[in-house]
């Protein structure tokens, strides 16, 4: 059961015959200071079994107490997903034995999740908007961490024994469950990735989760089923676990579609089961089949009392929500007057917030985009960092642009100034000073250069005198060359026309 030896159909062929139906269960770890039901620290990476209280070890006699901040975070997530918030909801015990689960039940919610019936709009790369319906978002607790020792490569199979660290046990989780997503067709893998990215963006924007997928803050279980075109009834689904990067979500959905198609083509039914995603082979392997062994015997948690919400509490929380990412993008694009293509490029380059800050600091939207998409992005790429990580502040852009607007430097010189600033040579003004980069603005030396240029190209000078003003460019070019680019081209043009007695 280790190697991905399953037959797969090509994706295109699969799409010719079948419609995929998707569903997602995304677990979001909250970034509260303490755990869901105990006052142990909610922290990553500490010495094993030190962020624990008797409650987190499920010692005899312990009782849980709900973290109020986690409840508010859950409600915020529900609101951000346009869900209804339950007036009254209970915690429930989900009973199953596993060594990473200290009480051998998980405290979760069952019949009445805190948030239900929501939806979010997912924008695909080409701007297509896809609405994903949210079934529910409920509160629960994370399990401990198992390390498998012996056997090969730390996998559970063939391990001699396992070690359990309960530091993560009891970390607050919000599980977000979608309704079946139909109609994505060949965009299903892309939609899968975009959906998880959107959830990640929303919880990060809310400030309720660190949302770092590499740390397991956002984890995705992807459900996939296929049905022949034109059929209403859903096919049998599989649930792929451990899909913990955006790229993996896309690949796993694509792989399962291809695998399902091959199985269906061979005339065998799909086995309802969990599948495990393997990043190395980019394939899934069979987990365990769903069976009556999955009798979780849910019942209301008698050690916890219900959560009751009212209008006032919910509205207070709603008022505290930051602007949703999608709405913010719409607003900014409209404010800045960018085309769809321009805006998408800005978003994809990850410089939207930088531009927003730069515009707020006083630079025009067009100039701000030119800076961030141009010189700054180019340097970031060379340095292999995000543009926002390059060390360019909005204030620096304001200063650079200010120097250009004042005619002290031109576009070309501004790049040298930026280099100087990034090299730690000081403020833009200081770099201009030290590198001697100021445009020549004393008309004396300029006039000499102009006279020289006019003398060098008398026929052009004649043409200009004769009214062919557009010919002035050739003379300007000569002057710029003579001044090694340090002249202000606008001023040069003015002076040439004055010299020749022509009105610009």
């Amino acid at each position: 059961m280790t190697a991905g030896t399953d037959e797969v159909l090509s994706f295109d062929e699969a799409m010719e015959k079948y419609d995929p139906v998707l569903g997602f269960e995304v677990h979001v770890e909250l970034n509260t200071r303490t755990k869901m039901f105990s006052s142990a620290p909610n922290a990553f990476g500490d010495v094993p079994n030190t962020n624990v209280t008797p409650v987190d070890l499920g010692l005899p006699g312990v009782l849980p107490v709900v973290n109020g901040v986690a409840v508010e975070s859950a409600i915020k997530i529900g609101l951000a997903l346009n869900c209804s918030i339950a007036e009254k909801c209970y915690f429930a015990r989900k009973n199953y034995f596993y060594p990473d689960t200290p009480k051998n039940f998980q405290t979760s919610q069952f019949e009445d999740p805190i948030a239900y019936d929501g939806s979010i709009d997912i924008e695909l790369a080409d701007g297509t908007v896809f609405t994903v319906e949210i079934e529910r978002a409920h509160m629960e607790e994370d399990a401990g961490k198992l390390t498998h020792v012996g056997g090969s490569t730390g996998r559970i199979q063939g391990a001699e024994y396992s070690l359990v660290d309960y530091n993560r046990a009891g970390v607050p989780l919000i599980e977000i469950v979608t309704k079946p997503i139909e109609g994505a067709g060949a965009r299903a893998p892309e939609l899968a990735k975009a959906y998880v990215a959107a959830i990640r963006e929303i919880v990060k924007n809310l400030g309720v989760s660190d949302a770092r997928m590499e740390r397991g803050n956002v984890r995705c279980d992807a459900n996939v089923s296929l049905r022949p075109h034109g059929r209403e009834q859903f096919g049998t689904r599989t649930e792929t676990k451990n899909v913990n990067s955006l790229r993996a979500v896309e690949h796993a959905v694509r792989y399962e579609i291809q695998r399902h198609a091959a199985v269906l083509d061979s005339g065998t039914p799909i086995l309802q089961e969990t599948r495990h995603w393997h990043e190395d082979t980019r394939s899934t392997t069979s987990g365990r089949p769903k069976s009556d062994a999955d009798d979780y015997r849910y019942f209301p948690e008698p050690d916890l009392v219900p959560v009751v919400t009212d209008e006032a509490w919910i509205e207070t929380l709603r008022a505290s929500l930051p602007e949703p990412p999608a709405e913010r993008r719409k607003r900014l694009q409209a404010d800045w007057g960018y085309s769809d293509a321009e805006f998408r490029d800005v978003v994809n380059a990850g410089v939207m917030t930088s531009i927003e800050d730069t515009v707020a600091a006083g630079v025009g939207a067009v100039a701000a985009r030119k800076w961030w998409m141009g010189e700054i992005s180019r340097r970031a790429k060379l340095a292999d960092v995000e543009p926002s990580e390059l060390g360019v502040t909005p204030e620096l852009v304001v200063e650079l642009q200010g120097l250009i607007d004042a005619g002290k430097i031109n576009d070309k010189l501004s790049r040298d100034v930026l280099d100087g600033v990034l090299a730690g040579e000081g403020t833009p003004a200081e770099v201009v000073e030290q590198r001697g980069l100021a445009v020549v603005s004393d008309d004396g030396p300029l006039l000499d250069a102009i006279d020289g240029a006019l003398a060098a190209q008398p026929d052009v000078a004649d043409k200009i005198r004769g009214g062919k003003i557009q010919a002035v460019g050739a003379i300007v070019g000569g002057v710029m060359k003579a001044t090694r680019g340090q002249a202000d081209a606008g001023r040069v043009r003015e002076l040439i026309l004055q010299r020749l007695g022509v009105e610009g």
Binding site: R33, T34, V52, N67, V164, P306
Partner: protein, 98 residues
Amino acid sequence: MAEINRDDVAHLARLAHIDMYDDELDRMAGELAVIVDSVKSISEVAGDDVPATSHPIPLSNVFREDVVGATLTNEEALLGAPDNADGRFRVPAILDGE
């Protein structure tokens, strides 16, 4: 209501993670049948309009401040552990090593 037989008890014992021998299953099935028989009348008592009571005294919204409290040390955590290694609880293999 369904009878409770030996196979039911075997299934329940698996769910509850309690090994049971055949004679134990038989005995337990007999005892449970009597108990279940004596309690099953309650399923017909209350109409749909009667709400369930899961908590005897109704309370709601009992929350804790999100403030870190005292934790156990690693030694305290592992003190009662049947087996441990590397500061963690040690358990036998989770899957059969076939």
